[in-house]
Symmetry: C2
Subunit: 555 residues, 2 copies
């Protein structure tokens, strides 16, 4: 396998920040309650070399813009009630992930690419479910592979009936891999397509056109070319009308983050990332809010993206993405916090008090998405609770999201953690449970006890309450942390990824966890198999004069 897209720091840093005025592949147009997000991929503007983004196919760079657009709709355009996703290219909606990009990417890059695209599609569904924006996929041309997977993440799918346009998932028949951006799972779990029909559809390279696609539940409707636009407009009007008028809302601006980039890390305003590359671990510190004034919704709107919860979590999000894609050798992240517990708890109270306000709701939902991004990051996380830290409320979630936590038990120094009402379910994991519920599956009364306590926990109390893993005293502290880091980073990174993916998600499963657990794990397996990526594999040989040859042994 070539490593053309290997993302080691020497070669290329992938930047996850962008904004509509910088988009190369999407046009975002907002007109009152309607947003139109049009795909118009510039085939020469690629993140890597050696491929062209023909036919609205995409690479990570295209998806970073899509993720940014979804995010900005929520914060900058709260007045939008319907989002139409369509294409500006004739006869093609989207051809999915670029196959040549995949064929020349390293295994790790493919896996990270798929994870990010999955998170973007889940963010669309999160917006629809919690913020009520309705997403319409207006397929004015063929949607294949990731193109149809983008459509199926929307609430409604409409296909043009032009005698040619189809929807398809050609990954299995053409490439020997899975439609791994949620496609298979959403077929049977979201649209509840009958499994035998899903089987036929997923093995049919040419896909299905309007009539049968509708009959099988793969799309909601189809319209002839001449009526396509008016039918979409009609549906949009229904949505916009039925969603009520409400007061006009004015969004806030998401300004660029401005981290100071250093050789050994990144310093944001509230987040500091220090890379200990030799030891293959990072220290990721989140600083709590500087003060604790209660803000009114109007004041929060005025503060905009400088309001602590929004700024801190945007920075945390960026740091996590950076770690994933640009720092693959970092295997362990030590999560630390700095600040006043009372300030964090005060911010949480403020958020809870105004959670029905659109911006506060969006901020809380975004904090939840960032924490889920952490849950789904293939690195170990240890929380380190020391004097001066503020693992309280929303930042207590960092501790609860960690694979382990260490809390200093010091006779003379104040080391505390604390819960807030935000820990009671406002920041759910992908499995639908709060992190406290997931932690105390065997003893739900312990989760209750943590939530009802209004005082901080010292180390011994936190240990007794089951909140932390270890509480070494000050004599053992440094050695214990050092040894824990050394041991963790000596283990097989692959075994740790599989282990953490299993242990982090106890309890119920949801469509999201099925996508990230079951589907992704199978895709990762297939992405390693010679039948896909070997010299004779289907992915390797796609579009070449050579043909794939399979080892037909079933595993």
């Amino acid at each position: 396998m070539t490593e053309a897209l290997s993302t080691s720091k020497e070669e290329r840093m992938i930047n996850f920040q962008t904004s509509p005025d910088q988009y190369k592949h999407w046009k975002l147009r907002v007109a009152g309650p309607l947003a139109t997000l049009s795909m118009d991929v510039s085939e020469d503007v690629t993140l890597g070399e050696g491929y062209k983004l023909k036919l609205n196919s995409y690479d990570l760079g295209v998806d970073i813009e899509l993720a940014d657009a979804i995010q900005r709709l929520r914060f900058e355009h709260p007045e939008v009630k319907a989002v139409v996703i369509t294409s500006l290219k004739p006869r093609i909606f989207c051809a999915g992930a670029n196959i040549y990009m995949l064929g020349t990417s390293s295994h790790a890059f493919k896996v990270n690419f798929c994870k990010f695209t999955n998170e973007t599609r889940c963010a669309i569904e999160d917006d629809s479910r919690h913020s009520g924006r309705r997403y319409l996929a207006a397929l004015n041309g063929t949607a294949s592979g990731g193109g149809y997977e983008l459509a199926i993440a929307c609430d409604e799918i409409y296909l043009v009936d032009d005698g040619n346009s189809a929807i398809s998932l050609p990954e299995v028949p053409l490439l020997g891999v899975l439609p791994g951006t949620g496609g298979l799972t959403r077929l049977v779990d979201k649209r509840k397509v009958r499994r035998d029909r899903a089987d036929v559809f997923s093995t049919l390279a040419e896909g299905l056109k309007g009539k049968r696609a509708k009959e099988w539940g793969l799309i909601d409707d189809y319209f002839p070319t001449s009526k396509f636009q008016e039918s979409i407009d009609g549906r949009v009007n229904e949505i916009v009308g039925s969603n009520g008028v409400g007061q006009p809302m004015v969004g806030i601006k998401l300004n660029p983050l401005q981290p100071e980039v250093k050789p050994a890390g990144r310093e944001y305003k509230y987040v500091n990332l220090v890379l200990n590359r030799e030891q293959r671990y990072a220290d990721l510190t989140v600083r709590g809010p500087e003060c604790m004034p209660q803000k009114s919704p109007a004041e929060i709107e005025r503060a905009g993206d400088s309001y602590w919860p929004l700024q801190a979590y945007r920075e945390l999000d960026d740091a996590l993405l950076h770690l994933r894609v640009n720092e693959p050798e970092i295997g362990l992240v030590c999560l630390r916090t700095q600040g006043e517990i009372s300030n964090v708890v005060s911010v949480d109270e403020n958020l809870i008090a105004h959670r029905d306000h659109w911006l506060v709701r969006e901020i809380i939902l975004y904090m939840a998405r960032v924490l889920r991004r952490l849950d789904l990051t293939a690195k170990s996380f240890f929380s380190v609770v020391e004097p001066g830290s503020c693992f309280a409320g929303n930042l207590l979630e960092l501790l609860l999201a960690s694979d382990r936590s260490y809390m200093l038990n010091h006779p003379d120094e104040l080391v505390e953690i604390m819960s807030s009402e935000l820990n009671a379910g406002a920041l759910p994991m992908s499995n639908g449970l709060s992190r406290l519920q997931s932690r105390f599956l065997a003893e739900p009364e312990k989760a209750e006890a943590v939530l009802t306590r209004t005082e901080p926990f010292e180390a011994a109390e936190a240990e007794e309450a089951g909140l932390i893993t270890f509480a070494p005293d000050d004599l053992d502290w440094e050695d214990e942390i050092r040894v824990a880091i050394e041991e963790r980073t000596s283990l097989s990174p692959d075994a740790l990824t599989g282990m953490e993916a299993s242990l982090r998600f106890a309890g119920p499963e949801t469509m999201d966890t099925k996508i990230y657990g079951r589907l992704t794990a199978w895709q990762n397996w297939i992405f390693q198999r010679p039948n896909a990526v070997g010299p004779e594999g289907a992915l390797t040989n796609y579009g070449k004069p050579t043909q794939a040859h399979f080892d037909f042994k079933r595993t």
Copy 2:
């Protein structure tokens, strides 16, 4: 990777049939309501070459005996109320799957080995849940890896406190792979161990001894050596006493199956397997019962293992295992049936009428396990419904378990399928749903309509009811089947495995589906990774003077 354990037909056929008098590794002792299943692995009696089964480590041959013992307990010893699983070796309960066996096995063999061992452990839990037998793991010595995974499949775990014996899951720290026989999932989902403690335990090569193991919920109790046996006995007496006396039950005998083995298949009494090796597909035909007399429970007991449902499903089970392990190149199985629909439905009515009788209950539960084995088999299944077939009641489940079905729509010939009460939930999938429920997630009323109809369905009716995928007429029939087979067997076998694993299990997840979906898929991925199986991988280098070296990039 060496292919020393490659199981191609030229080299070695693995036989899944055995009986207690042939056991080499286990002693099964039944004394009234107590069965003791003692592990005493003969280190030289291995299924493959190049390794010894030291320290009660196991290979597939050892687990075939365990599966047989569990099965015989249910049918031959219904009087048993408690099963104690223990060891006859000093200071060691079980060291888990043999590492040298794993290190020298092909990827496909490892995957099939793990699947079978998982099914055996799920069969223990199935017995406990549905037949009320209580399984006690009496760990009279160290239980590591698969040894602890066997224990955690039991209802209760007791560890000797001899200053030395421990439980451990050393796979991640020592071998760079997962505890893949359900261990990680059962830690957090069955025993609901806190995830940070599960993390610590699963990365601690030496494991935990009694006190902390109990504190963390990994075992139920621990006893000093001098009190170990009497404590186990005491617990057994409690179980046997509280389970009530009941009437003494006499089991039936499970006689050896006697298939005629041919170069191109196997002919059992009710099951015929024809291997079309050139085309890489098999025809698997189940013959329905010859007649339809209603049998009383006493008559069913007298018929014993020759009673159609038991014999046919034992044969089907054996054929599926044979296909999995001995015929890896067969990618597609065409399921066919032969017989009278009225006879199958009559047998089902008989089973339903007496489902509270112990033997009938065991037969139905076993049919359900065999059908789940089919759901979990990494081959494509097409059902082919032709004149003379009898896809009715329990055999309709074969059709519902298939990835697709084809039913001949013939103007002159009678081709029918039919439901029975057994389709209403008595034969659940691993996800807890009936196959009709899984099929009609979007339209549950359709499942109801199928169940309430007391007439057979002809092809057009079956298609209308949503029961079949395609109903070609007699002109197209042969071509359509031929093309479908050719197309299916031309696709990437790996992509099909991942696709089928995703599409077959829509809807809810259970601990079982998490084990077979999430955990197994991650393990399969890791079993392909150079960090485990490459020349410098941890599994490859275990126990050698050479050391593992990892590529530390996190994926």
